[in-house]
């Protein structure tokens, strides 16, 4: 990496650098993977927190690494939105790291690969969140995608490998589409800096083609209905901590990118097309929920739930009000925490009983109370019941929809919430009863149980004081949050 010239490196660089260094170290000393990984996770968390305070003090942060600006250098940029994403990743990341400590003790999956890959992925994530130009975004996106695929493949089962393969193709296809878009934009406007592009972009065919390619690429990677086909097999078959990371963070990264593109790059042309995303989002809510309800296996259920929940993220594109945007971002946060907790809980149940057939869950509620609590609390957030982050998000979205008399969206959200309740409680109900074929219980590490619970509790706490995240979001006004220009 680039040497600092004289002054110490700012935190915004450290948040990328730390996980990268950690990844290298873990790769070099796989035996110490756990220790190194955990230390890195904690260090990264601290760096993110430090960056947070820096942001609170001085507002939006821009930094050209090594003094080289775009296009050739690496421009870093952090505002409230980035910060929220970084915090979210750090929180989930630390949680998952703790979880992984317990998970790989008993799992047949390859633990040596986990730490370097995961830290690499974290590098990609953090890089993506603070990248200031669209080409760097491409690089981080690829880093993220490839490490994610590799993580899925850790499970080494037939399903996991198939899922990983499919995921890889999708990821590459998306990246290539995105890259064409980058090429077109650069050709048309001669820059890759997001802020600059935002001021330059105008309505012309090149812009539109770029928009189409890039947006759809991100939709593909965010698994918006009907492009979600790759998500359930990949997320459901991956090792539990990986599933948690994928559902909580990786899909959010592409969503974040889409958000940046939509508002900061294409704001002059994109607004009219929001309805398409909204409709697809609504369809995703219903489709994903119904399919989740139909699943007989727990991890698939949770994976389809992700498909459904991602639908909510796209409603603000159609609702077009600042309130809706706050809701959308809040949804990202709460879903990340809740879904990570839920996948971790599902992993615990799987480890506990040796299977994840929902109907055969045998008194899990009684025998794994902490896990079940985590599952339920996460479920509460997914359903959008108060008090939880999901509730705040839903409240903001509903407020936005209803204050403009946009009924359809409100109805879709309600249906989504009810279906979510249906699939969550389908699991909870069976967790109380005794199965026909009782199974032996495998011990579940307390790390796994408590980290799941901690994240779930965070998802709930997110609903108790929504001021801070929303105030943070307002810093830098990352997304313009304005009504469409006519």
């Amino acid at each position: 990496m680039i040497e600092a010239s004289g002054t110490p490196l700012p935190w915004i660089v450290w948040v990328i650098l730390l996980p990268l260094i950690g990844a290298m170290l873990c790769f070099l000393w796989p035996r110490q993977g756990k220790t190194l990984g955990l230390l890195t996770a904690l260090a990264t968390l601290l760096a993110v927190i430090a960056l947070y305070f820096q942001l609170l003090d001085g507002g939006v942060i821009r930094y050209a690494v090594g003094g080289w600006g775009a296009p050739l250098g690496i421009a870093l940029y952090a505002d409230g939105l980035s910060m929220l994403m970084l915090l979210m990743s750090a929180l989930v990341g630390v949680g998952v790291s703790l979880y992984a400590l317990g998970y790989f003790k008993h799992s047949p999956d390859n633990p040596a690969g986990f730490w370097p890959l995961w830290l690499l992925m974290w590098t990609g994530l953090n890089g993506l969140f603070v990248a200031g130009d669209i080409f760097n975004l491409y690089v981080t996106l690829e880093l993220l995608g490839l490490s994610a695929v590799a993580l899925v493949a850790l499970a080494a089962s037939r399903d996991a490998l198939g899922g990983a393969m499919r995921y890889l193709f999708v990821s590459l296809l998306g990246s290539l589409c995105y890259l064409i878009g980058v090429a077109l934009l650069y050709h048309a406007y001669g820059t890759v800096d997001i802020a600059l592009l935002g001021t330059l972009v105008e309505r012309n065919p090149a812009t539109h083609v770029a928009l189409g390619l890039m947006v759809v690429a991100m939709l593909l990677k965010s698994a918006l209905f009907p492009l979600h086909f790759w998500l359930p097999p990949a997320h459901a078959s991956a090792p539990a901590p990986v599933s948690a990371l994928l559902s909580a963070l990786v899909v959010k990264a592409s969503f974040y990118l889409l958000l940046r593109l939509w508002f900061d790059v294409f704001s002059t042309v994109s607004m009219d097309l929001g309805m398409v995303l909204g409709v697809l989002g609504a369809a995703a809510i219903v489709w994903g929920s119904v399919l989740a309800l139909r699943q007989t296996r727990l991890k698939l259920l949770v994976a389809y739930s992700t498909v459904a929940q991602l639908g909510y993220l796209f409603l603000p594109f159609a609702l077009l009000s600042p309130l809706a945007w706050q809701g959308g971002v809040y949804f990202v946060l709460s879903h990340a925490l809740a879904k990570a907790a839920m996948f971790m809980a599902a992993g615990n149940i799987l480890a506990f009983g040796g299977h994840d057939r929902i109907a055969d869950l045998d008194r899990v509620a009684q025998r794994l109370p902490i896990t079940m609590t985590a599952f339920c609390l996460a479920g509460v957030s997914l359903m959008g019941l108060p008090p939880s982050g999901g509730f705040i998000a839903k409240w903001l979205l509903l407020d936005a929809a209803l204050s403009h008399d946009q009924w359809g969206w409100a109805v879709m959200m309600m249906i989504g919430g009810l279906l979510a309740a249906a699939y969550v409680f389908k699991v909870v109900g069976f967790a109380f009863t005794q199965a026909d074929a009782p199974h032996d219980a495998q011990p579940v590490s307390p790390f796994m149980e408590w980290s799941a619970l901690a994240l779930a509790v965070c998802a709930i706490l997110l609903g108790l004081n929504a001021h801070y995240p929303l105030e943070l979001l307002a810093i830098g006004g990352p997304v313009t949050f304005v009504s469409p220009s006519p």
């Binding site: 008194r363 509620a365 009684q366 109370p369 339920c376 509460v380 359903m383 959008g384 019941l385 108060p386 008090p387 509730f391 705040i392 839903k394 409240w395 903001l396 509903l398 407020d399 209803l402 204050s403 409100a410 309600m414 919430g417 009810l418 309740a421 249906a422 409680f425 909870v428 109900g429 069976f430 109380f432 009863t433 005794q434 108790l464 004081n465 929504a466 001021h467 929303l470």
Partner: protein, 496 residues
């Protein structure tokens, strides 16, 4: 201090609940101590609060939630009525539940959720605005689920599922209603006589729709007619839960919500001017009759009581919907009265089941001689439900009737008549069988308690609540009776 007290009231059940979750099964003593300690502390705190409010203090706690929106707890008169009811009945039910679940498994979980349930109920009561109400209302839904499914049977799972389908759907409607209201009014704080009457007339259609949404949302828990289906099914739960669900927590939260919406959100006058109250009154009346008719044919004792609840809870809605001060008094006071009477009945049903294994009315022949105290309490409760003076139910019915006449809605009288007749028709045969029929040679599943008819922890609560339901009726005119509180509450709403 004044801001802390409502929080402390909440914490007095929340904290013990959370600690109980962490306790091992065999820590019976600690659990009992926590439960009873929490209940007693809560009662004391509530007592302090009542005294303070009586002295003119205001208790309010606020927590910012969203820009322009905060969670608010406040102890106004209506809130206190419900809080007092909940905390008294919590103490009683806790004693009962300790006795009832003596040897059953998963007590920590049970009591943990039980405390959560009470916390949510008290939260519902103390809510100072609709969003806080919504929060605790949903919390209540969630915390009762594990209690219904507690027995972990297939039937229990299905019943709990039904419960959730109903209540969560109701919650969803409620959420839409609340958000919409917020977009129109910009505030959600409960205000006597409502905060909507200042809105422009162009919103009247929207306000009507919102009213329907809110009432439907609360109506689910209050088991108003097409939304009552969950209640009889939820009877699979253990008796203390049924008692708590039916007398205090769930149905009352719904009914309380209806009162709040009509009184403190819309304002009676405004709601009436939108022509919203008459349909509500008719719906409530229909529920009253329907519930009673269905109760007639239930041989399962708890199911009969459940349908009776369906019927009785709608009295509250009816009283609220009759747009008049006297009827409002009747409705509000029935909140307390029905609670006392119905919890008595459920305790007794639980005693029969626990001591003798009796679940069906057809097994109750002569049970009065075997368990005289239990059945005496049951008798008081049943007569109260029929509306025989001087029991609590009579006072409610009396005010409802007078209020209906005062508001020029004489038809309500006939509903009350029909309901009383039906109540008599389904309660009196039980009493007859219990007291006058020859006892069976052996009971379905008898447990011996020595010289006592049953464990004292099972016996004390129903007797206590029965006496209370007698006392609140007999001494209705004394200063601290629920009736006088209800009069005070109604005066806030109706006095110029």
């Amino acid at each position: 201090m004044n801001a802390w007290l409502p929080l402390l009231v909440l914490a007095s059940s929340l904290v013990p609940g959370l600690i109980i979750f962490a306790l091992k099964e065999e820590h019976t003593r600690a659990r009992i101590a926590l439960n009873l300690g929490g209940a007693v502390i809560k009662l004391v705190l509530v007592g302090v609060m009542v005294w303070g409010v009586f002295q003119g203090q205001t208790y309010e706690a606020r927590l910012p939630l969203l820009p322009g929106l905060e969670l608010a707890l406040q102890a106004d008169a209506l809130a206190l009525l419900f809080v007092v009811l909940s905390s008294v009945l919590w103490l009683v039910t806790t004693i009962y539940a300790i006795g009832y679940l003596e040897d059953s498994p998963y007590r920590s979980r049970f009591f943990g959720f039980f405390s959560l349930c009470v916390t949510s109920t008290v939260g519902v009561a103390l809510s100072g605005n609709l969003i806080t109400f919504l929060l605790f209302y949903e919390l209540l839904t969630l915390s009762t689920y594990p209690l219904i499914v507690h027995r972990a049977t297939e039937v229990a799972r299905r019943a709990a599922k039904t419960y959730l389908v109903y209540t969560l759907a109701g919650g969803a409607l409620l959420l839409v209603g609340v958000v919409w209201l917020y977009t129109l009014a910009g505030t959600l704080s409960f205000t006597p006589r409502g905060f909507l009457s200042g809105l422009e007339t162009q919103h009247s259609t929207a306000l009507s729709v919102i009213f329907v949404l809110l009432i439907a949302g609360f109506g689910v828990k209050a088991a108003i007619l097409p939304l009552h289906g969950w209640l009889p099914k939820a009877m699979v739960a253990p008796a203390p839960v049924s008692a708590l669900l039916h007398a205090v927590a769930v149905v009352k939260a719904g009914a309380f919500g209806i009162v709040r919406v009509v009184h403190d959100v819309y304002g009676v006058e405004f709601a009436d001017s939108l022509n919203l109250l008459m349909p509500l009154a008719i719906l409530a009346a229909a529920t009253i009759l329907y519930g009673s008719v269905r109760a007639l044919y239930q041989d399962d004792l708890k199911r009969r009581l459940a349908y009776s609840t369906v019927s009785q809870v709608s009295y509250i809605a009816l009283g609220t919907a009759i747009a008049g001060p006297v009827a409002a008094i009747g409705g509000i006071v029935h909140l307390v009265h029905q609670g006392l009477m119905k919890i008595t009945l459920f305790f007794c049903a639980g005693n029969l089941a626990e001591t003798l294994g009796i679940h069906k009315i057809s097994e109750m022949d002569g049970v009065g001689r075997r368990m005289p105290w239990t059945m005496a309490a049951f008798t008081l409760g049943a007569f109260g439900m029929i509306g025989v003076p001087p029991l609590a139910g009579f006072i409610s019915k009396w005010y409802l009737g007078l209020g209906a006449l005062e508001a020029g809605q004489g038809w309500v009288i006939w509903v009350l008549v029909g309901s009383s007749l039906l109540n008599a028709a389904y309660f009196l045969p039980i009493l007859y069988a219990a007291w006058f029929k020859a006892p069976a040679t052996h009971w379905p599943h008898e447990r011996s308690f020595g010289r006592q008819e049953t464990a004292w922890m099972l016996l004390l609560p129903p007797v206590l609540t029965a006496l209370l339901s007698l006392a609140v009726g007999l001494l209705a005119n004394t200063t601290f009776s629920p009736l006088q509180w209800a009069v005070f509450i109604a005066s806030l709403e109706f006095m110029p």
